[in-house]
């Protein structure tokens, strides 16, 4: 069988051998993601959030669970905002539908966890800055539900 095609193939691999590499040393240098990258977890600016619950309703997979409390002069406050990142489809619906742009992606795509319940992120605590790395250990079922769960 004429070896012309074989030799041509070998020529390619040879000059690729000395060619420029395209992989990077991952932990040290990271490939920059685009500004529109939808990844990581939701980070909530709780002062902007008016606890309307639109994001929870818009989400196809019921990933966002928030509970609200209406105080004396009918103003709604957020009491808990749990984001089950394990079930999130990253479809960006919640961010598009939020009237006050309170949530956005934190673009940190290295968020692997050891335990399943660590996937449920309590964005409220984080945004309040109380405990910057508050990974709520509460499993979804035993979160105390106040009235008005949306």
């Amino acid at each position: 069988m004429q070896g012309k095609g074989l030799l041509a193939g070998m020529r390619i691999t040879l000059n690729r051998l000395f060619g420029k590499k395209i992989t990077v040393h991952y932990p040290e240098e990271k490939i920059p993601m685009s500004p529109r990258f939808r990844g990581g977890e939701l980070d909530l600016a709780h002062n902007k959030c008016i606890a309307c619950g639109l994001c929870a309703m818009a989400c196809p997979n019921q990933v966002i669970e928030l509970t609200t409390r209406t105080d004396e002069h009918k103003k709604r406050h957020l009491t808990s905002y749990i984001y089950h990142s394990g079930r999130c489809l990253y479809c960006n619906y919640c961010i598009e539908v939020c009237p006050t742009d309170a949530i956005c992606w934190d673009k940190n795509y290295e968020n692997s966890r050891y335990f399943r319940h660590q996937l449920d992120v309590d964005c409220l605590a984080i945004s309040r800055g109380k405990s910057p790395n508050a990974v709520v250990g509460t499993n979804p079922d035993d979160t105390d539900k106040e009235e008005g769960t949306t």
Partner: protein
């Protein structure tokens, strides 16, 4: 999106040919031919072999559970004449069975097995009517409206 639907007079001629069992329902792109399951095979063979129909590709075969009855839908397409048609047939849901069209179009084989697996419609004459997607020992047919499931965290 122009869709060369089968011209209506062809439908009318078909209806005349199989008068009692065939009715035309829907309009414009939703136009379909409702057929009694007895005349189904006969009609489909005509559609495939007759020179002015020549539907040689069974593009899609599916079924819908309208609670009182099941509706099996066939979408046909004719490559030479570049026209498409929709054929529907109904069967009650207690003894849901429809004659199988694998004899006419072998491409119906997997699709009928899938409809049987998910909706429980038996296709008489199908070579090996087994479950295709669900595990073999799955008791029910999940796509039926009666089948509700609430896996954890699912508030659907």
């Amino acid at each position: 999106m122009s869709k060369q639907m089968i011209s209506s007079e062809l439908f009318l001629r078909l209806q005349a040919q199989f008068s009692p069992g065939v009715t035309i329902i829907g309009e414009h792109f939703q136009q379909a031919l409702l057929v009694e399951s007895e005349e189904l095979i006969e009609l489909l063979t005509v559609l495939k072999t007759d020179p002015n129909y020549q539907f040689n590709l069974l593009s899609n075969l599916t079924a819908v559970d309208y609670v009182e009855y099941f509706e099996v839908v066939y979408h046909l397409y004719s490559l030479p004449l570049k026209q498409s048609a929709t054929i529907k047939t109904r069967c009650t849901n207690d003894h849901a069975s429809v004659p199988s069209v694998t004899a006419i179009w072998p491409s119906a084989d997997f699709q009928e097995r899938e409809v049987y697996d998910l909706l429980g419609i038996r296709f008489t004459g199908h070579p090996n009517l087994l479950r295709i997607l669900m595990p073999d020992d799955f008791p029910e047919h999940p796509l039926r409206k009666a089948y509700q499931f609430t896996p954890d965290g699912e508030k659907g």
